[in-house]
């Protein structure tokens, strides 16, 4: 496959970036998207040019590190996958592919396609946990009866890998799908009830402080989420916040 890549290049957080064109002539349809970028980077290194910086780690759709906005969509054209699970067979010979970093004020670009997603960490630290004694006498989780329905929904919410695709695809750069998933995962379980009110208040306050936009229920986040996190988690977070304030 012959491809034209239009990639956002930015030397550092302080410098101005721009789209730079690259040509690749021998891309296998069986390559993953990241492998294609590896080939490009090898070419650049061979030419004594700066390789494209991009985040990646597990390369099996679990860690949520690979964060790219490809041809106008988070993680590219296919549904429910991360960039590392995207393969070049999803594109055609002769295609032009735009590759950009997540765009949000709360996710500043560090270099090229790498953004700083530590805002998510700070939201988690504000309340995305339960305080339990882990000194060796922890109660067996199965000793607490939990309905199958609640356990399944909590597990679905917990599959959020915090990649930030929800923020990137939202026209408002809203983080509510992420925060909704983290609030839901505990709100659905008895262990999460003790700190439920403080959790939702603190996490929402931190989310606002980080400069994310407001959700207008377009549903783009749900469509682009690689883990299929449902909008129902945002509705649940809203209910939890109303409950916490009443």
């Amino acid at each position: 496959m012959k491809l034209t890549l239009k990639i956002w290049r930015q030397k550092s957080a302080e410098s101005k970036g721009k789209i730079v064109d690259y040509k690749l002539d021998d891309v296998s349809p069986d390559m993953s998207f990241l492998e294609m970028l590896d080939v490009l980077n090898q070419d650049l290194i061979n030419k004594n040019e700066e390789p494209v910086a991009f985040d990646h780690d597990c390369r099996e759709g679990i860690c949520g590190m690979c964060s790219m906005f490809i041809n106008g969509r988070s993680h590219g054209p296919d549904r429910a996958i991360t960039v590392c699970q995207l393969h070049m067979r999803s594109f055609s010979d002769g295609d032009t592919i735009y590759i950009e970093p997540w765009r949000a004020k709360a996710f500043p670009v560090i270099k090229d396609l790498i953004v700083d997603r530590s805002a998510f960490d700070r939201i988690q630290q504000a309340g995305g946990f339960i305080s339990v004694n882990t000194s060796g006498n922890t109660q067996d989780a199965n000793a607490i009866p939990i309905s199958k329905h609640a356990a399944d929904e909590a597990m679905d919410a917990a599959t959020c890998i915090g990649c930030g695709a929800c923020v990137a695809s939202c026209k408002n750069s809203s983080a509510m799908l992420f925060v909704g998933a983290k609030v839901s995962q505990y709100a659905l379980l008895p262990q999460g009830q003790v700190e439920a009110a403080d959790r939702v208040k603190n996490m929402v306050a931190q989310m606002d402080l980080e400069g994310f936009g407001n959700c207008t229920n377009t549903g783009a986040c749900e469509v682009e989420c690689p883990k299929g996190i449902s909008l129902e988690n945002i509705a649940r977070m809203n209910r939890e916040l109303i409950k916490a304030n009443l």
Partner: protein
């Protein structure tokens, strides 16, 4: 509680509450206006009741005005804040792949509705306020008009081609706004659990029937005048 309404979620809940109020108002406005097609006398009677009842005029009307102003102001405030949350746009953004046009353009359908409301106020509300609160005429009568004046005034407004077209276009934008706004308001309130499909269907029915009904009323009076 004031902190709640300063939070992002509190604000969207406030938007949803004002939207519920406006959607209820729209329903009762339509219920009254459709009477003008079936029974001019009944339309006049109900209009006179609404136009002179102290509860409606001095309690509900100010709440309505507040609701309308609040919904628009908060809508613009949130839009500015949301635009500020992404300072560099994407070179290529395929929004239609993951969301509807209506959901992405609520601000523009809202601006079109605001323009319509200004026209509608000039047409009906300002003259009504002038007659009742400045001239002090609460009789509902007008020289040369038999019975109450309301039906006559309504018909007269739809003599103009341009005004009728403007009203029809505005109702199309209202439909587009409601097609996203109805379900969105319930979602913001966290009230979609287990009933999302039902709410979406009710929302579609409401969003299409009410604006189409208003279009029908405007065209009915216009064509009645044009065709004699």
């Amino acid at each position: 509680m004031s902190g709640f309404f300063k939070s992002s979620i509190g604000r969207k809940i406030a938007m949803a509450l004002s939207a519920f109020f406006l959607m209820f108002f729209l329903l009762q406005h339509f219920a009254i206006n459709i009477l003008s097609v079936f029974s001019p006398d009944l339309f006049n009677e109900v209009s006179h009741f609404m136009g002179t009842n102290p509860l409606v005029q001095f309690a509900l009307q100010p709440v309505l005005i507040f609701g309308v102003v609040f919904h628009f102001v908060m809508g613009f405030v949130l839009e500015i804040k949301n635009r500020n949350a992404r300072q560099i746009s994407y070179a290529k953004n395929n929004g239609s792949a993951n969301s509807t046009w209506m959901s992405r353009n609520m601000i523009w359908s809202g601006v079109a509705i605001l323009a319509f409301i200004i026209l509608h106020f000039i047409d009906f509300w300002f003259p009504e306020i002038n007659t009742k609160f400045i001239k002090g005429d609460w009789s509902g009568l007008h020289e040369g008009v038999e019975g109450y004046r309301y039906f006559e005034e309504l018909q007269h407004k739809f003599h103009s081609h341009i005004r009728t077209i403007a009203y029809v276009i505005a109702f199309v934008f209202l439909m587009l706004h409601l097609l996203h706004g109805f379900t969105s308001a319930f979602q913001s309130m966290g009230a979609t659990a287990g009933r999302k499909k039902t709410l979406q269907n009710i929302g579609k029915a409401y969003s299409i029937i009410i604006p189409l009904g208003f279009i029908f009323i405007a065209l009915y009076h216009h064509l009645k005048y044009v065709l004699g």
